[in-house]
Amino acid sequence: MIKMLKVCLLVFLASSAYATEYKIETLVDGLSYPWAMAFLPDGDMLVTERSGQLRRISDGKLQAEPIANIPALYVAGQGGLLDIILDPGFETNHRVFISFSIGTKSANATRVISARLEGNKLEDISTIFTASPGKDTPHHFGARLALMPDQTLLITVGEGFDYREQAQFLDNHFGKLIRINKDGSVPSDNPFIGLEGVLPEIWSYGHRNAQGLLISADGTVWLHEHGPRGGDELNRILPGKNYGWPAITHGVDYSGAYVSPYVEAEGMEQPVTYWVPSIAPAGFCEYTGNQFPDWQGNLFVAALAEKSVHRLVMENGKVKSQQTLFTELEQRIREVRAGPDGFLYLLTDSDEGKILRVSPAN
């Protein structure tokens, strides 16, 4: 049974256009910077903690023993144990894909493994992607994962903060969206196959630090990424396209200087929407459940800096309207996921992180 650790919040939203009653319950607390979650077919949940543990939640209770056999990590800054997704055939093959940072202070990178979850441990672990080259900053790893309908795997790789110009060059993984097969090989229909000096696993480029990746029900690839001071972006991804960072941006550097004086340039894609000032977008999901009929087909963007979740009402590939939710929590939200039960689940970004469940008030 779900352990109630916090008084339910009943919220009546001010705008009648958006009026949706919900309550928020604490499902689990005591997590160390939870980063991502996955829902198992048996009703259990897996949660990654950036500090390096993969935890299981059974019957609403956090299991004391972390999942064993997590590879050696580089835990620093924004790095550590990051995303996890299940193989669509998980029920029979128990396969999971996990992203994390590896290396040292002077040479670290984003890595993705494939493994089987057997009981309380990972087995048959194989590295299917390691970003290259390494970097000497503990920031901007990207590391969000998503499986395409054709069973290829998309991976975001950040530009490492100090390496932003590399996002415009195709001989490295900085600031790229990567597409590989589940065994780590490169799909033959990737956009840059056969081009000299270009890494064939690149799917799109010109990204900063994408912390949200989503394949919506209609097959659209959505990605959101952190800007610097301002300029967080929601992008609709098409293969081979250049999304502009750092040549064009609606943000400025943290120092106050230009990253670029331009917000558009020939051959570079414009975001579907952008946020100034920054909300620091993190997790991402599309709501397709039946608990909140008004939210059907909406995209949800978790926001760290704004301590909220943005609900995006989409129409013809554009953002028709936005609603800012859950600000009453006053918590940095790292992840938002729609559970198989139709409820919305949130992860709060803290050394006392929580899993919160959003359900209809009645």
């Binding site: 620093a76 800054g77 900053t137 503990p138 920031h139 903060f161 100090d162 932003r164 110009e165 415009q168 750092p246 040549a247 400025v252 550097d253 943290y254 120092s255 106050g256 200087a257 230009y258 990253v259 670029s260 004086p261 331009y262 340039a265």
Partner: protein, 146 residues
């Protein structure tokens, strides 16, 4: 009176270093934009340069003020206890002040806050801006301190 004048000269050296570093920083970033195949006409370059002077004023100027203050105090102590040409000490202090400060910040935060200083060449140019600040301070305080 003497202290007030020294203070004014210090502020002048900070302003000089800040303006040079800001202008140099903008040109380095715009050179990166050019490397992407995007043209940067002169009008845009001038506009970006002024934008950055305003944008960096609340951050970089404070960083430079702190860096030069520490550097000039160390230089004054060296002159007093080690001797040697005071101009050389202040030039050395100015030259090393910004690289030392930026490297300290990187060691603490993991990233380079002033983007122009991310490469060795950029760091050298920023160090030269500090050297100019050291020269201004040494030159304008020469008679009173030397």
């Amino acid at each position: 009176m003497k202290k007030a004048k020294t203070g004014l000269v210090y502020i002048l050296s900070v302003i000089c270093t800040f303006l040079l570093a800001s202008i140099v920083g903008t040109q380095i970033v715009l050179a990166d934009i050019l490397s992407f195949g995007i043209d940067v006409p002169l009008s845009e370059r001038v506009s970006a340069t002024f934008h950055d002077i305003v944008g960096l004023a609340p951050t970089l100027s404070i960083l430079i003020a702190a860096a030069l203050l520490v550097a000039f105090v160390v230089a004054a102590l060296c002159i007093r206890f080690l001797g040697g040409k005071r101009m050389y000490w202040y030039l050395a202090a100015g030259f090393t002040s910004l690289p030392a400060t930026l490297m300290l910040i990187k060691s603490l935060m993991g990233v380079t806050l002033f983007a122009a200083a991310r490469t060795g060449f950029g760091m050298l140019l920023i160090a030269l801006c500090g050297l100019a600040g050291g020269w201004v301070f040494a030159r304008l305080t020469q008679k009173r301190i030397g």
